[in-house]
């Protein structure tokens, strides 16, 4: 520990601290622009110059290491003169037109110029003009003359996003921030650069000039977009969500959010919202009052249950539904005598149902990822499925964590990987088995029963060795592992690997409330998400999902829905395909308009309130379900608030839910028979098509991540199929046919084609990881 005195205040700081660290510990404010606690030190803005005793010159607080007994003065004449000098330099070429700048009112330069800037400029020469740039639909670089060259955006790209998309070109006052000749900024975390920019150089394109920061009310919320449950500040004007920013929580999202979380709000106030309950009558749709719609639904469900038994009713909910919604939906189904409820529409193997020891979760806290010595991610499009977990692993890999990937494509995760193995979906289970076997052999233990015929390879041995080395290690099962036809086997193999190596085993989680859904017991006692469509039911309740995009096998789901006599679709958005098979459309409130609770993948309970009034006649889904329960005269539907529901499910003031476990009872490790050699489909869920909200956010749909799916395959596979990159091809699964552009992608394993799911052009296809046939168009 070192002793330091800043402005007369004494503090003890750890070795290696900088003066800035010490000042923050003491609560002394030192002005700065380029310094950011999550980024490397650049010391280029020079705003944080302070006086240090015995130093002849002022020193930058951000980069000056504390020495024992150091005395620092942040407000001495020397320090203030230096700071004012820097401020004058920053302002000479900066446009002084704050009233017409989009950053006005929330600009660090503007704020600090009040404290340190001169009343009048001594600079009478022409100001430097920097040409604007177009870097894509999210970040506006329209006013680059405002840039003060702090390079926060550049460092963010290099260090946090993992890809240097912005750089500072040229030198002297002609320096400018730009992308590599004509490219766009495509990182899934790019929006954070807008927050980092201390001036109005990088601004949010969708938000630009739609509101002033002082007109906005800041309200806390929780992201419904992925399993991390990023903490958000939703900024609101006149009951409209104007923008979404990260709320700092080091244990969850640090100070970052993904672009999906940042820009999906655009869908909330768009015309795509469903605002009135609608009932199909005589083949046409009619807007009705809520009481009419609910009566219709209640009677319809009751009639089906009475005539065909409760088992003829099924409910399927999105994983981004709240604990309250899922719990009440489950209760409603129970009241109808049905156990057919599920929240895992993309899953196809439910072998571990009734066998799990608890709610599956990450197996550790998010904040502990940085301390891992090794991690293996199995079956994941990590960067796109879990941008913030990928970010944490990226930072960890920079230090000493050996991060390995075992997945179905070799996509660049922008992580310095220890090993990267990609295999066909049907081979994933065998590849993981090889790692298990390698681990057993490395430990000198007997090869687990069932794995006698598995062949190890160099990579599997390398991965196994990394998992055996060090204190803390983890195996993470990604969305592909969860959605795989061999999900249970992969789960069991991961547990065996954990047992052999001492690594923790966890799931990355498909949705915002995956753990919460388990806790709310929205699990089937009857038909699950697959069987409820394989054996068609008479009535379906769909909550927050769009089966054509969200199901493991959309063909099967749509066919079942078409034959049903009653389909109740609870949705926040108009959904044209649903108009064909649904009978009732109930407008529900998205996360900004309802209160509720998400339990994130580490088991953290995060409740939130609505931040704006519900749009039109939309109502919180938990209220709709509660009233439905009342109309049906079911017991236990008397909740007055969502908090009451939550307390009934989780209890009051619980920070982490109990009963988390990834263990499985009574299941034996086994491997499937060697798969028949057939062309396999690899279906990723493109990041901006993963949920109904993102699908309707115009800016997100213009990004590189939202390009229409192509048929991607390696050169060898293309040659074997007689396809040529750049031409059209027809892909077929069952009855479904899609025509796609062919793209060469050597990151796709042999004998596989990558055809994304969740997109209108591929919605008519079948199983995400099933057989597929391809022919030239």
């Amino acid at each position: 520990m070192l002793e330091i005195e800043i402005d007369g205040k004494k503090a003890q700081v750890p070795d290696g601290s900088t003066v800035m660290d010490a000042a923050q510990q003491l609560g002394v404010y030192i002005p700065h622009f380029c310094y950011h606690k999550k980024l490397s030190i650049a010391a280029n803005c020079r705003m944080c110059l302070v006086q240090v005793e015995k130093a002849p010159k002022p020193l930058p607080a951000c980069a000056t290491p504390v020495t024992n007994g150091m005395k620092v003065f942040t407000h001495s004449d020397l320090a203030v003169k230096a700071q004012k000098g820097v401020m004058e330099f920053l302002l000479i070429n900066h446009p002084l037109d704050c009233p017409i700048c989009d950053q006005g009112g929330e600009c660090q330069l503007q704020d600090m110029s009040v404290g340190y800037g001169p009343m009048k400029s001594r600079y009478t020469e022409e100001k430097h003009v920097v040409f604007h740039k177009d870097v894509g639909p999210l970040i506006s670089m329209q006013e680059m003359s405002r840039c003060i060259h702090c390079t926060r955006c550049v460092r963010f790209g290099q260090e946090v996003a993992g890809v240097m998309e912005l750089g500072m070109a040229n030198r002297n006052m002609h320096s400018e921030i730009m992308t590599f000749v004509g490219r766009t900024v495509d990182s899934e975390l790019s929006g954070n650069m807008i927050d980092l920019c201390p001036v109005g150089a990088l601004t949010s394109k969708p938000f630009r000039y739609t509101a002033r920061s002082w007109e906005l009310q800041r309200r806390k919320s929780i992201s419904p977009h992925d399993s991390v449950g990023a903490n958000l500040v939703v900024q609101v004007k006149h009951d409209n969500v104007m923008r979404v920013l990260p709320r700092e929580n080091d244990a969850v999202n640090e100070c970052w959010i993904s672009d999906k979380e940042r820009f999906a709000y655009q869908a909330l106030s768009s015309d795509a919202r469903l605002t009135r309950p609608m009932v199909k009558q005589g083949g046409g749709w009619r807007e009705v009052e809520w009481n009419v719609a609910l009566d219709y639904v209640a009677h319809g469900l009751k009639d089906v249950a009475r005539e065909h038994g409760g088992d003829a009713v099924a409910a399927l909910a999105a994983q981004s539904s709240t604990v309250e919604e899922l719990y009440l939906l489950g209760k409603l189904m129970k009241g109808l005598g049905s156990g057919n409820i599920d929240f895992r529409p993309r899953q196809s193997d439910f072998g571990s149902d009734f066998k799990r020891a608890g709610a599956p979760w990450l197996g550790m806290r998010l904040a502990d990822i940085k301390d891992l010595d090794a991690a293996l991610v199995v079956g994941s499009f990590l960067r796109k499925d879990h941008p913030l977990i990928a970010q944490r692993l990226r930072q960890a890999a920079k230090k000493y964590t050996k991060v390995s990937m075992l997945s179905v494509t070799a996509d660049d995760q922008l992580i310095n990987l220890h090993a990267n193995l990609s295999v066909a979906p049907s081979q994933l289970v065998f590849a993981l088995a090889a790692v298990v076997r390698a681990a057993a052999e490395a430990k000198g233990q007997a090869v687990p029963a069932g794995l006698e015929n598995v062949q190890t390879c160099d990579t599997s041995c390398r991965i196994a060795a990394s998992l055996l080395d060090g204190e803390k290690r983890a195996v993470f099962l990604g969305n592909v592992a969860t959605q795989s036809a061999d999900a249970t086997r992969i789960h069991l193999l991961a547990l065996e690997l954990g047992r052999l190596t001492g690594a923790s085993v966890g799931f990355l989680g498909e949705g915002a409330n995956t753990v919460g859904a388990h806790v709310a017991w929205a699990l089937p006692s009857g038909a699950n998400a697959r069987t409820m469509f394989e054996q068609p039911r008479k009535a379906y309740v769909l909550m927050g999902i769009e089966p054509e995009f969200d199901c493991a096998n959309p063909q099967l789901a749509i066919a079942a829905l078409r034959q049903a006599s009653l389909v109740v679709c609870m949705s926040a958005f108009k959904n044209d395909p649903a108009l064909e098979y649904a009978d009732v459309m109930l407008p529900i409130a998205p996360y900004t308009e309802t209160s509720g609770t998400f339990v994130n993948i580490e088991g953290r309970v995060q409740s939130f309130n609505g931040v704006v009034k519900a749009r039109g006649d939309a109502r919180p889904a938990w209220k709709i379900l509660r009233v439905l329960g009342n109309v049906l005269n079911f017991e236990g539907f008397d909740y007055q608030s969502s908090e009451e529901v939550r307390d009934a499910v989780i209890g009051q003031g619980v920070e982490f839910v109990p009963g988390l476990s990834n263990d499985v009872n009574d299941l034996l490790l086994s491997l499937p028979a060697a798969p028949v050699a057939a062309l396999e489909r690899i279906a990723d869920v493109p990041i901006h098509f993963a949920d109904p909200m993102a699908r309707r956010a115009p800016a997100l749909l213009q990004t590189a991540d939202a390009r229409a799916p192509m048929l991607r395959a390696s050169a060898g596979t293309l040659a074997a199929l007689g396809l040529v990159a750049g031409e059209q091809a027809k892909v077929r699964q069952g009855e479904g046919v899609a025509q796609l552009m062919v793209q060469l992608d050597d990151k796709v394993p042999a004998n596989c084609v990558r055809v994304a799911a969740a997109h209108p052009t591929t919605a008519m296809l079948g199983a995400m990881f099933g057989e597929i046939t391809v022919e030239r168009a």
Partner: protein, 442 residues
């Protein structure tokens, strides 16, 4: 090569032959003997560094930091990679000495670097050559090939078990890449921008490994120091200013060129060696150490001897030894305008005071030179340069501020005249006569 008078050169001795840069000639002059002696007699690292310390060799690149002391900062026993880097990125206006060393005596640099590498336990070296002297980069590459073939660099040098790989790397002419950490960034393939120090290169240098960077002339002096002994080298010069040094004399003298003279030689003697002032005109001012050194008026410099301490006492710095001589035909405003433009142009743009301040200073000086000056401009310049000096990441900010400061200090009246009369104090025809390029209009 201009080496005149009774003074005996050291570094540049015996370079009269047609092939002085060849290995054969260098060996004939006694080259590589010191490397052999060290490796075969198994001199210790401490002995070598001790000898360099005794010589009080001060860094020839500009800062004048004692080389022996710098070498002793290197964690010699630190396991893993260590580097020695030679800074031949000679970009300082007025300086042209390193290119002559590279042109005529490249093997002295190679031998010096090999000895330095041995003394500091480094096994890899780079010579960063300025981008605008391409032919010398090629010549150095050829010299490296010769040295490699003869076994003076490479693996297991002279059977001693000592390995040293040396590579040449050329830049693209940016002045800032002569700053040692910007130079390291440039070798690493990044944009040449100085790093913030600490950490210093001795602990975190090239690729994050301990690194020592010295000037070409510094490395070239090493074999000669070991040959004659540190003490004798020191005695060539004067106390605390050991040895001889190359001075690049340019400007209004009869014989501009490189002059190797002992440190402590009076300026008057150097001027005499250069054949005196051109056209017999009166000396007005001298920039004694490259364009970033403060200018010295004639009467001050005439009393100085050419060494670090005397020049420093006179209010400037010896820097790289680039002596820019200006006679009475020079308009100091015009001269400063050119200098300020250089620093504005070469600022890397990384940190605020330098990026914004150098441009501002240039614009103001430019304005004064072009008859647009205002009475408050001199105060403004002094205030702006005060906000740059000492506030930047590297020394370029200081280098840009010192000329302005010293020109205003010593020749402020010319600036005032310019502002008041919208024209030069030195009449245009006198300036043209002195330039040697303009014909005086009839």
């Amino acid at each position: 090569m201009a080496m005149l008078g009774a003074i005996t050169p050291v570094l540049m001795a015996g370079l009269d032959g047609d092939n002085s840069w060849s290995l054969k000639d260098y060996v004939a002059r006694g080259g590589y003997e010191q490397l052999k002696r060290i490796l075969i007699n198994k001199m210790t690292q401490e002995d070598v560094i001790g000898e360099v310390k005794k010589s009080v060799l001060r860094g020839r690149g500009g800062a004048g930091f004692p080389t022996g002391l710098k070498w002793s900062f290197m964690p010699r026993s630190f396991p893993g990679d260590k580097y020695v880097v030679c800074n031949t990125d000679e970009g300082e206006p007025g300086t042209f000495k390193d290119r002559d060393i590279m042109r005529y005596n490249p093997h002295a640099v190679i031998e010096g670097m090999a000895i330095a590498a041995f003394a500091m336990g480094a096994n890899r070296g780079y010579n960063y050559v300025h981008g605008e002297i391409w032919e010398l980069y090629k010549r150095f590459e050829a010299a490296l090939d010769e040295a490699r073939a003869a076994g003076f660099i490479g693996q297991n040098i002279l059977g001693s078990g000592f390995n040293f790989e040396l590579f040449a790397h050329h830049g693209y002419g940016a002045y800032i890449c002569g700053e040692e950490t910007a130079l390291l960034e440039s070798i690493e393939g990044k944009k040449g921008q100085p790093r913030f120090k600490p950490p210093f290169p001795a602990s975190f240098g090239l690729y994050g490994k301990p690194t020592t960077i010295n000037n070409t002339e510094t490395f070239a002096s090493i074999p000669f120091i070991l040959k004659m002994g540190g003490e004798e080298f020191l005695n060539l010069g004067k106390p605390n200013n050991g040895g001889t040094k190359l001075f690049s004399v340019s400007g209004h003298v009869n014989r501009p060129g490189n002059y190797e003279i002992p440190l402590g030689t009076p300026f008057a003697t150097l001027l005499e060696m250069c054949g005196g002032m051109r056209g017999g005109r009166k000396l007005k001012a001298v920039i004694p150490g490259g364009s970033s050194a403060p200018v010295m008026p004639a009467d001050v410099i005439m009393d100085c001897t050419m060494d670090y301490d005397s020049i420093s006492k006179g209010g400037s710095m010896l820097g790289s030894g680039a002596v820019i001589v200006m006679d009475e035909t020079v308009c100091m405003v015009k001269a400063l305008e050119r200098l300020s433009f250089f620093y504005h142009e070469e600022s890397c743009g990384q940190c605020t005071p330098c990026r914004e301040g150098t441009a501002w200073m240039y614009k103001v000086v430019h304005r004064i030179e072009n008859g647009q000056g205002r009475p408050e401009d001199i105060d403004l310049l002094n205030s702006v340069l005060g906000n740059i000096a000492g506030r930047t990441i590297c020394a370029l900010g200081d280098a840009a501020a010192f000329p302005v400061q010293s020109f205003l200090k010593h020749f402020g009246s010319e600036f005032e005249y310019h502002i008041e009369h919208k024209t030069c104090l030195v009449p245009k025809d006198v300036q043209w006569a002195g330039s040697g390029f303009h014909k005086i209009p009839a």
